[in-house]
């Protein structure tokens, strides 16, 4: 039916459970950071986290010990350098070991599209000759029945929950996002459940050039979270906080300074 409107706290409590497979998407733009913080605050654990670019949002969740496994294609701090918490988990098993399932961007996109289409796999022409299929059993090959060509088959993503941030929703639960729309539609559509945090809830969604509308029937819950994409940005609302990304390099570099950041988030409301 129509999505349920709830507080961010209640929506996360309702939709995200320990051990779930969770995708939080947003390609640089509209990253659902507020939801990520709420997952940390509620102490979720053993999550399998899916995301093309783990970015700061997953560095935080990984550092907080929320993740058992990471499914991803590029794990850096864009334009800055390493994700230190991700590296610490992989290189030293701190705060816990992190299993990896590693793809390329196009493979991740294809896995989301396949999931959104209720197909068991997607097909693409990349990855042959690389080490990726050796490490990831979700990458196999498939033969074209017409040409005999061997292509890469990637297993569909079907997360338990997808979380995204959008500019706005109307009161019946239609969601609108615009600007760089990335993989969010497919991430929501391939999931069993979905949570959309929004900058605002409006009476009517004025049509916007380049906007994607997720019809209400495709969304499970909506939570108002103004500023919820910070330090990433929400086009039309606020700009990317590049200083935060740069500062995160120092904050996240040591377990101690990250711990201080984490205590702050946990103390937050």
């Amino acid at each position: 039916m129509a999505p349920v409107f709830a507080s961010l706290h209640d929506a996360v409590a309702e939709l995200i459970h320990d051990g779930d497979t969770v995708a939080m998407e947003g390609f640089t733009h509209l990253i659902p950071h507020a939801a990520g913080h709420e997952v940390i605050r509620q102490g979720r654990t053993d999550l399998t986290l899916i995301r093309m670019t783990p970015d700061i949002i997953y560095d935080q969740l990984i550092g907080a010990g929320a993740a058992r496994k990471l499914v991803f294609s590029w794990g850096g701090n864009p334009g800055v350098g390493s994700l230190h918490r991700l590296r610490d988990a992989v290189e030293h098993g701190w705060p816990r070991p992190l299993e990896l399932a590693e793809y390329s961007h196009a493979m991740m996109a294809s896995a989301y599209v396949a999931g959104a289409s209720a197909l068991p796999f997607g097909v693409l022409r990349a990855g042959a000759g690389t080490s990726l299929p050796e490490q990831n059993p979700a990458l196999q090959s498939v033969i074209c029945p017409f040409t005999g060509e061997s292509l890469t088959a990637v297993k569909a993503h079907r997360p338990d929950v997808t979380v995204i941030h959008a500019q706005r929703a109307d009161r019946t639960g239609n969601v609108q996002l615009w600007g760089i729309v990335g993989i969010q539609k497919e991430a929501v559509y391939c999931a069993q459940r979905s949570l959309v945090t929004v900058e605002e809830i409006v009476d009517e969604l004025a049509p916007m050039p380049g906007a994607v509308v997720l019809p209400a029937v495709t969304v499970t819950m909506i939570a108002l979270a103004p500023g919820g994409a910070h330090p990433s940005y929400a086009q039309g609302y606020y700009r990317r906080d590049n200083a935060f990304y740069l500062a995160w390099d120092a904050t996240s570099r040591s377990r101690e300074s990250f711990g201080a950041w984490l205590r702050g988030v946990r103390a937050g409301s």
């Binding site: 640089t28 334009g79 022409r125 600007g179 760089i180």
Partner: protein, 230 residues
């Protein structure tokens, strides 16, 4: 003004975009080279970012490949599946840039791990769009600093495979041999010697019979690059 080796690398990469229509842009050195080319050598160059922006015209270099200005200045913004399927895989990209932590003599790249995969010494960011750029761009241009730890006999992980058009370093330019495909030094930047390039390579470097010298960086190229990168 005298360019650093890395500045020369970006400027030479920008020159490689002359005469091309479309360029698939990642962040960092590729973005600098592509935007430099659009300003000096090829004003009609269509910049395509993997975030889905087609025809972006940023005024300053974005910190990330998804900054708002890329969308606001684009001719069209499409989804991530569309940019990879209908643009990159479809063969609409003339030039794709790649960087790496390691390269081998056939131009294969590693951006995944240093050390064994299950227990890496250094965990690198991973593949991103490199496997598909290497597979589908009409020309692949690789940019990386030439050091023995980067130019290696054996990759720790093969992240991408594909014959590059050229490898541009801070010392010179390497091109695959027509026959063997082995990367061969064909050009050194002003002031660089072939021996320096050999010393910076972790395998016995193949050197062309007639090694050229890179045309000097112009004042304009350097000024525009530095303005972009402030």
């Amino acid at each position: 003004m005298k360019p650093t080796g890395e500045e020369t690398m970006r400027i030479v990469a920008a020159r490689a975009l002359r005469g091309h229509r479309t360029c698939f842009v990642g962040i960092g050195a590729p973005s600098a080279a592509a935007n430099l080319a659009r300003r000096i050598h090829n004003p009609d160059l269509l910049l395509i970012y993997e975030s889905g922006t087609i025809g972006s015209k940023p005024n300053v270099l974005p910190l990330s490949i998804g900054d708002g200005e890329l969308a606001e200045t684009a001719d069209s913004v499409v989804s991530v599946p569309e940019i990879f399927a209908y643009w990159l895989q479809a063969g609409r990209i003339d030039v794709g840039f790649l960087g790496a932590a390691q390269i081998d003599r056939t131009g294969r790249l590693n951006t995944t791990v240093i050390g064994p995969y299950q227990r890496p010494r250094v965990r690198l960011p991973g593949a991103g769009g490199a496997p598909e750029i290497a597979a589908a761009a009409r020309e692949v241009v690789i940019m990386l600093r030439q050091r023995p730890e980067a130019f290696v006999e054996r990759l720790d992980f093969v992240t991408s495979v594909g014959r590059p058009a050229r490898v541009i370093t801070d010392l010179g330019v390497l091109v695959p041999d027509d026959g063997t495909g082995e990367l061969t030094l064909t050009q050194v930047h002003p002031g660089v010697t072939v021996d320096q390039a050999r010393a910076a390579t972790g395998w016995p470097l193949s050197v062309a019979a007639d090694v050229g010298e890179t045309a000097p960086v112009t004042e304009e190229e350097l000024a525009v690059l530095r303005a972009l990168e402030q």
